[in-house]
């Protein structure tokens, strides 16, 4: 917990590893981007299917996320939105949080107000229910 009370020494201590960490993140991002750009999840067999969809036939909140990333890797925002709108909304927030977690010492990380997390939770639940309702405007939430 000392880390929280004395932010500066931690930052100084983590400096030397920052470059290594950045290189690792850049390499992983490049590898992920390449795989997602080159392989269409609808065709390539090695992307995992959604166990929830496989078991129940219903869409889960994450269904279509790999196809959405594939679309994004081709700069197709509309296509990504059709596959999983929640993912498209969550990605910028995830990017900020990941940057905060990977690059900042614990004491300086982004503190997400609990209300925001609860709202995200409710939105996720509504999205989950909504995309399984076979009524027109809601069917747009399912991958299509």
């Amino acid at each position: 917990m000392n880390v929280a009370r004395h932010g500066c020494p931690t930052l100084a201590a983590s400096r030397p590893r920052l470059g290594l960490r950045l290189a690792g993140i850049a390499a992983s991002a490049a590898a992920g981007f390449t795989v997602l750009r080159c392989f269409d999840p609808r065709i390539a067999g090695f992307f995992p299917p959604c166990p929830f969809h496989w078991l129940t036939g219903c869409w889960c909140p994450g269904c279509g996320s790999t196809r959405a990333l594939h679309a994004l890797a081709h700069a197709d925002l509309a296509g990504a939105w059709r596959m999983n709108a929640l993912l498209v909304c969550a990605l910028p927030a995830l990017a900020v949080l990941l940057t905060s977690e990977w690059l900042l010492p614990p004491a300086r990380r982004v503190f997400v107000p609990p209300r925001v997390i609860w709202i995200f939770f409710v939105v996720t639940l509504l999205f989950w229910i909504g995309r399984n309702v076979p009524v027109y405007p809601l069917t747009l939430l399912a991958p299509h």
Binding site: R5, F52, C60, G62, L94, P113, F121, T124
Partner: protein, 100 residues
């Protein structure tokens, strides 16, 4: 919040992990992890440090459960494709195609 040196004590809420497993392992367990992540920050904000630590532990556990289930499914699928590939390579399915 009255902690020595000021500021919040650091309690990881595993929110990023929870969101990632919810959206990429397609696991309803990830949503449980999101609930605990929210609890961590709620409890930190009211100064309930012990409660926050407990919620943090739960968020971590459920993120791992979701990740583990996702990984298990992936391995099963991988094994299935492995069996198909091996059977193709070892000359299985002899009635398909013509041999020279």
């Amino acid at each position: 919040m009255g902690y020595p040196g000021g500021g919040f004590p650091v309690v990881p809420n595993y929110l990023v992990q929870a969101i990632l497993v919810t959206l990429f392992c397609c696991m309803p367990f990830g949503i449980v992890a999101i609930v605990f992540a929210a609890q961590v920050n709620t409890k930190l904000q009211i100064g309930d440090y012990a409660g926050a630590l407990n919620a943090s532990k739960n968020a971590k556990t459920w993120s791992w459960v979701a990740f583990g289930c996702g990984l298990a499914v992936y391995l099963v699928v991988f094994a299935f494709y492995g069996i198909v590939i091996i059977s193709l390579l070892s000359g299985g399915f002899p009635n398909t195609g013509t041999r020279p």
